[in-house]
Symmetry: C2
Subunit: 628 residues, 2 copies
């Protein structure tokens, strides 16, 4: 390649040079021609498209050259993208300054770049034979954006992806069966088959329960049967706790019996190297139209029917009350923890599914079911590895504007992905693609277990904010400093108080209070009356969207009337998220505050991360431009 | 600038062009000469030095050009640096691939770059008139590293930094005073002056207590005095809860009385815009050699003398038992939370200081005191804004190899820094410089409040690992997937088990257990016996440095004998960090496990972050190369 040719003579010389160079490698080379292109000056950017194993066609945009290669400063969306999504991509890269006139350059022509992204999206979507597309570099300036090099990878076996549609068929029998058989029910306490039977048969589930065990007449006082085919009445749901190798046969028997859904609690399938048994089990189920949950899972819980298929005893694991949250989890351990945290925080659960190896019913199916479920108004999703990520994306995208979906994905790194594989037999895929897809679908992405629960708690307890202005009120400013860091990190903003509000605060609060640009610091001398004065003034300010009261409950001047103050401020309709940390007294006070439906978080960072979920959901449900 | 000159003719032409160009701006320009330099080919990197307000001279190294400008891909150390530190800087940038032969380049000559960093360090250290030094770009290749452009910023007022030495004078009177006066003691319950007196006078502190209040004969049954000068015996420590404006006078009176240390609990000083009162107070104290803690703080707690100057009642705030941890905090709220968490986790506290506005005694003084304190074996530091960061750095650097120092700094972002300023009157400075200084001094940097406590807990309860190989054992693999993500993120490594250990595990564990490359998954069927089998085999493997058992305590097969199993495994001397989450039963079990001195964390991420503290301290105390 020769660049910077300025005259016909230089062009001639370059032509000869290139031809000579090409022939110097081998005398067989025939130079058919040489490509002349206009020189372009500007900033290097890249656009491209790639095919992901879990999410199919994706569009990539990024800063060019070394930035993308060394630092992966790119943004990803699933194809096809809308023009608005293309435009949003431009502000999603870290080095977006590049586009706005960096180092004395004029701002780039964004429309020209958007046009390229649109075209890239169309190309990869409409041409199944293209698996990869790389426009690198694109030279962009204030007038135009020109791809000066391109690479297209074709496949010899083009296949348009078969659109997998979520199927919710028969899933209602999973949550509200009239009758349940426990295959592998055991009379030995501590055995999984015993504990599952006990939880289904001896607590609040009202349907018929049939222990299946060839060696027992009755278990836990419930009449047992040798085989499911011996059960005299119909059976909606079967729970398997038997060894993996028996599963294909048992599922066939379930099919003959007319069972609708089978939950396979047992492990020993794909995750243990026995993918063949898992496959045979699925084939047996398909023959009879049976849906399978699992294997290698803790199964299902329904807050209303009170059915659960867990092997964790009631003594060791609390069950939450019925309520609006449904969630699915690939890991049973993770799910059990969230259920207990929900129980302790008095958050009601509608439906819960731990699906382990996911051999049949998958995330897309369950999210679709919850989307249509009148008992569900908020959905949580914990995944490690995905099989059909695109199906989850397509399903979630339809739902998020009316029901928030909070998602947490593990297996983000290479090591985590390997751990996921040995856990449920699924490799976790590329996290950046998954995260991009989740955000594009309007889902709320959680950082970790605590953040997942924190966000669900906020979304369940509080209304969405009408605007994004945050204000912090405190009697101890330390946690607000860390909260301020988090506010900036998450791209949230503090409210600019109206002059009226500022004047009202200064004139009505005692002199020890400090009204600053970042915090209303009532100081350690603050009483509940001071909080009342501050919060009511702030609640009247239209610039304030979210009230964030921070409490040091152990500071003696703060009296317990604060609970009533908050209850009263809550009637303003503003979003309120509180923060308080400490020992037993503080925790007891936080619990009293939470009884007024104001969630309390232990640190400022966690409180702000919860606010972010509300702000984001407000955008998603308002159908306004959602970026990032 | 003209580059790529190939012949004398081109040089002549370029000279004329440059001269003409220069004169075209103004006819007054006289061109004295033109600089010719040899062309260099290679990778662009930068080196430099800058003067930081809190940490003085710093050395910077980074990738060149756009990488450093847009993405701040740099690493920082305080000058002077050792050659080893210079070498470490090369592997600390994100784009370190650049140096190792990126895009077909040969690996760069690292020695040449190290030489430049060494020279930069000497230059900035030895020449007080240089405040900034910018070698940008340096062109580096496999043979050499040449700075092709340089900028030096000089000051007209060179001043070598006066080395501030930590002073621990009189600080022992802060923790173990024979007598304490509470100035502003009040008989009105709920008032700060009442609560402070009650906590000092009515609980376990054994020294003499003197309430000072001109209007009372006695408060809480303790004889009161109108003025500290009226107290008949000597007074070591005075605690002020009086309005700020009285402080200069009162401190003078304390001086006349021979008081050694004054704790000013009251606010209303610099943080409220009254820097002048704060200054007068310090001047009064200096006159008499009095040391001041505060103002605007909750003061001091000593686990042994049982003195505390808090205004939080015992009913609302637990006090921890005596023990090895000392810590300082700029925020009282933060400090109170950590004290209560310590009390609940049965972690003993030696000394605690909340220092608020820090008008006299600062971080360096206190850390120095703790470094020499036989009652302290671990130090925690929470800071928002620093005044003399270099003093803290110098002090900490001497201590970290023998006593771990865990540090958390808030005010990382612009917004957080502003919040810090309105909190204690100090702007928080540049976080990257502070973090670099902390790491260079061998301190352990925490991410947030919980991580700060988690790391202290691990360092207090567990021995340092002899090597860095981690191994996870679990009865529910979900949390291990997220832990694996964290292991990779924090640069830790899983142990490679010896063939003997693998064989032993496979032959002795029941068939339902899965021994994989990332996890020993005992599955939901696991009993305490299975944990015993796995953990004892792993403890015998020299490749294993850290045992990480994960528990789903609610899984019924897991019996409570697990506590004894762990107690037994602990005798192996391996580092053990556990993880378990859930509700009341799980929490009760975790508490029983912690009674064996094995800390239990609620999530895998937090457990791994705690392990990182131990691994890092092992490096620091082993005096091996500590990078990053």
């Amino acid at each position: 390649m020769v660049i910077g040719i300025k005259s016909p003579e230089e062009a001639e010389r370059s032509f000869e040079e290139i031809s000579r160079h090409a022939k110097s490698h081998s005398s067989n080379v025939e130079v058919e021609g040489v490509l002349f292109e206009q020189m372009h000056k500007g900033v290097e950017i890249i656009a491209g498209a790639a095919t992901d194993g879990q999410f199919d066609k994706t569009i990539i945009f990024g800063a060019g050259g070394i930035l993308v290669e060394l630092l992966r400063d790119i943004t990803i969306k699933l194809a096809p993208i809308t023009t608005l999504e293309a435009r949003n991509m431009l502000s999603e890269i870290q080095s977006q300054k590049l586009l706005s006139g960096f180092r004395g350059n004029k701002p780039l022509n964004r429309d020209a770049i958007v046009k390229i992204l649109d075209a890239t999206s169309r190309m990869i979507t409409e041409n199944p034979e293209i698996v990869e597309l790389d426009l690198n570099p694109i030279i962009a300036n204030e007038n135009e954006a020109i791809a000066v090099d391109a690479r297209v990878v074709l496949t010899a076996y083009p296949s348009k992806r078969t659109q997998a549609h979520a199927s919710t068929q028969r899933l209602s029998f999973l949550f509200k069966p009239q009758s349940v058989a426990i295959i592998g029910a055991s009379s030995a306490a501590g055995k999984i088959g015993h504990e599952v039977l006990k939880n289904i048969g001896k607590y609040d589930y009202k349907g018929a329960v049939f222990p299946i065990n060839p060696a027992s007449e009755s278990i836990l006082g419930i009449k047992a049967y040798a085989n499911i085919l011996d059960v005299p009445t119909s059976v909606d749901l079967a729970v398997l706790t038997t060894p993996a190798k028996l599963a294909p046969t048992i599922v066939s028997e379930c099919g003959k019996k007319g069972v609708k859904v089978v939950v396979i609690v047992s492990g020993g399938f794909k995750e243990a190297g026995s993918a063949d048994i898992e496959k045979q089990t699925v084939e047996a189920a398909r023959k009879y139209g049976i849906r399978i949950i699992g294997p290698n899972c803790i199964g299902v819980f329904d807050g209303y029917s009170r059915l659960d298929t867990f092997f964790q005893s009631h003594e060791r694991m609390m069950r939450p009350k019925a309520g609006p949250v449904s969630f699915i989890t690939q890991s049973g351990t993770f799910g059990a923890t969230i259920l207990e945290w929900a129980a302790e925080s008095d958050i009601g659960i509608s439906k819960f599914v731990s699906y382990g190896n996911r051999c049949d019913v998958d995330e897309g199916d369950l999210v679709e079911f919850f989307g249509n479920d009148p008992e569900t108004s908020l959905i949580g999703v914990y995944v490690e590895g995905l099989d059909d990520g695109r199906k989850l994306y397509d399903t979630a995208r339809k739902i998020t504007s009316s029901k928030p979906i909070v998602v947490l994905k593990a297996g983000k790194t290479g090591l985590g992905s390997n751990a996921a594989k040995s856990h449920t037999g699924w490799l976790a895929g590329s996290y950046p693609v998954a995260e991009a897809a989740f955000r594009q679908a309007g889902m709320i992405v959680a950082d970790n277990l605590e953040d997942f629960f924190d966000k669900i708690k906020a979304l369940t307890m509080q209304p969405l904010p009408s605007n994004t202005g945050l204000v912090m009120v405190t009697n101890g400013a330390g946690p607000c400093v860390m909260a301020a860091d988090q506010i900036e990190r998450l791209g949230l903003t503090l409210a600019t108080l109206s002059p009226t509000t500022k004047a009202k605060l200064t004139s009505t609060l005692p002199p020890y209070c400090l009204v600053t640009d970042t915090t209303i610091d009532l100081t350690g001398s603050a009483t509940s009356r001071d909080y009342h004065t501050a919060l009511t003034a702030l609640a009247e300010d239209p610039n304030v969207g979210v009230l964030m009261p921070f409490f040091v409950f152990s500071d003696t001047p703060l009296d317990e009337n604060i609970v009533n103050v908050l209850d009263q401020v809550a009637t303003s309709g503003k979003t309120i998220i509180a923060c308080a940390s400490g020992g037993p007294y503080s925790r007891a006070m936080s619990k009293r505050v939470e009884s007024t439906k104001i969630p309390v978080y232990e640190t400022g960072e966690r409180a702000v991360a919860a606010v972010e979920a509300l702000v984001r959901q407000a955008k998603v449900s308002g159908r306004s431009a959602v970026s990032g």
